[in-house]
């Protein structure tokens, strides 16, 4: 899998087959009626494997254990999680996801689709996404929440492994609450990205960038106060019942420290 069968025809490279891997993982979390959360759907194929781990209280916990060595060029991964009314789900991953160049030409995709019904709660806290040199990934996260859903979501992008130039990475994050788009952000970086991505307006040489989104119905009446966390991070109230922490840092470790501190303040 993942092999590309490009061949040269009269000096022209032609992709005969777009031969990336397609893999999908699905999670469905449901209020079990006994004060807990059941997982009637928990399935992952190919490189995307899911494990239920020990939860706490009424919360179910799931670990993504697969995708650390992908996606490669041409691969298309999809992860879907749906949290039904009253259910609580926490999802993490066992290791960072590394976007790598594949033999197949062209971009790979990683799509995350999350829905949380009214009264449901989701904590989506995967490890970093690392854009390795030569990779080309378009990652999207789309989250649909009910008006009374709760969410904590963290995304971290690390540009290159230690000392390595990054690949091309475009990541889009769309958050809807009660049918209204509250946040729509895309960040493009690496070779081939529009100019200035590493300049003083966008990343200025920082190699890690992250977002932390916290949605709570209470924020509608009482939004968080905007606040700067050092030169490289700020917590802001969005135009909806949500708070966003945006942070840039020299590396993934420092980024995590800032986001953890911000999450602590939002508790």
């Amino acid at each position: 899998m993942g092999a590309d069968t490009a061949r040269r025809v009269d000096g022209v490279t032609e992709a005969v087959a777009v031969a990336g891997v397609r893999a999908t993982a699905r999670i469905l979390a449901r209020d079990d009626g006994r004060g807990g959360t059941s997982l009637p759907v928990l399935e992952g194929d190919g490189p995307l494997a899911l494990r239920r781990t020990r939860g706490s209280g009424d919360e179910a916990r799931v670990m993504l254990v697969g995708a650390m060595s992908g996606p490669l060029g041409g691969d298309h991964f999809t992860v879907q999680a749906a949290v039904e009314a009253g259910a609580r789900l926490r999802v993490g991953s066992a290791a960072a996801t590394i976007a790598l160049p594949g033999q197949a030409k062209g971009e790979s995709r990683y799509d995350v689709r999350l829905t949380v019904a009214d009264g449901g709660e989701l904590h989506w806290l995967p490890e970093q996404l690392i854009s390795a040199r030569g990779s080309d990934l378009y990652a999207t996260t789309r989250v649909d929440l009910g008006a009374t859903s709760r969410l904590v979501l963290r995304e971290e992008q690390v540009l290159g492994r230690a000392g390595e130039d990054p690949g091309r990475l475009t990541s889009r994050l769309v958050l809807r609450v009660g049918g209204r788009t509250v946040l729509d952000q895309e960040l493009a970086c690496g070779p081939g990205a529009p100019g200035g991505w590493d300049g003083p307006a966008v990343l200025a040489g920082h190699r890690a960038v992250g977002q932390l989104v916290v949605v709570r119905p209470e924020f509608a009446a009482e939004p968080v106060a905007a606040r700067v966390l050092g030169e490289g991070a700020a917590v802001v109230p969005l135009a909806g019942p949500a708070a966003l922490v945006t942070a840039v840092a020299a590396d993934g470790l420092r980024l995590r420290r800032v986001l953890d501190e911000a999450l602590g303040r939002l508790r």
Binding site: R172, V174, R180, T181, V182, L183, D184, Q185, E186, L187, A188, P194, G195, G196, W197, G199, P200, A201, V202, L203, A204, V209, A226, R227, V228, E231, G232, A233, A234, V236, P237, L238, A239, L244, T246, A247, V248
Partner: protein, 224 residues
């Protein structure tokens, strides 16, 4: 349509409040990220392809008749920093005033009624271009150009940068401005068919963070 109307609208002296805003340059200068013409150019290029591209598409979509209320909500979703949302609405309100005096139109009056405290400036810019008889590409050019001309003239004041160097920066960005404006019109056409979700959402983390840092200063030269 009068081509010259574009010059009136794009003139840096058009009285719509822009002179008091640095487009993030004041924060970047203070943080030591913009120190001269080269880093200004890099700053402007990054702003053009992020905030500038989104503003250009919003403005173009407004010219094409997309509901300004829908576009304004989309602009909110693409502007996480409350300091930047406030600045965009302030500038939008000021542009509404200047536009209604310059090119009186029912649409601009309706916009002023709908948003008494101001809609996002690029949305107002699009409706202004419409009132002036200009097209989507004209509005896109204005928005894209403003996204770089504001920081460039602010940096002349902040760093006492040679004004010829700052103008040279803008001239070197011209081919990219052309591409951003053209692409913004394509995006805007998609918005007509598919709705505001088709708008670009290119973001610049340090513009957002820098705007919040700047808003917290007790002493500053520019409003944003």
């Amino acid at each position: 349509m009068s081509r010259a109307a574009l010059l009136v609208l794009a003139d840096g002296r058009f009285p719509a409040g822009g002179h008091a805003h640095s487009g993030g340059a004041e924060a970047a200068v203070k943080a030591g990220r913009v120190t001269g013409a080269a880093s200004l150019e890099d700053f402007c290029r990054g702003r053009l392809h992020t905030a500038g591209r989104v503003a250009a598409a919003l403005a173009a979509a407004a010219v094409l008749g997309v509901d300004p209320v829908e576009l304004d909500a989309a602009a909110d979703a693409r502007t996480p920093s409350p300091a930047l949302r406030t600045a965009a609405r302030k500038l939008g309100r000021q542009l509404t005033r200047a536009a209604r005096a310059t090119w009186p139109s029912d649409e601009l009056d309706a916009l002023a009624r709908e948003f008494p405290k101001g809609a996002h400036q690029p949305v107002v810019l699009g409706l202004t271009a419409r009132a002036a008889g200009l097209g989507a590409v004209d509005a896109a050019y204005c928005a894209a150009y403003e996204s770089v001309s504001g920081p460039a003239s602010a940096t002349v004041r902040l760093l006492s940068l040679d004004p010829f160097e700052a103008t040279g920066v803008l001239a070197r960005l011209a081919p990219e401005l052309d591409r951003v404006a053209d692409r913004a019109v394509e995006d805007a056409r998609c918005v007509v068919d598919e709705g505001a979700d088709a708008l670009p959402a290119a973001s610049a983390p340090l513009l957002e963070i820098g705007a919040e840092v700047h808003a917290g200063w007790g002493v500053r030269l520019f409003a944003s």
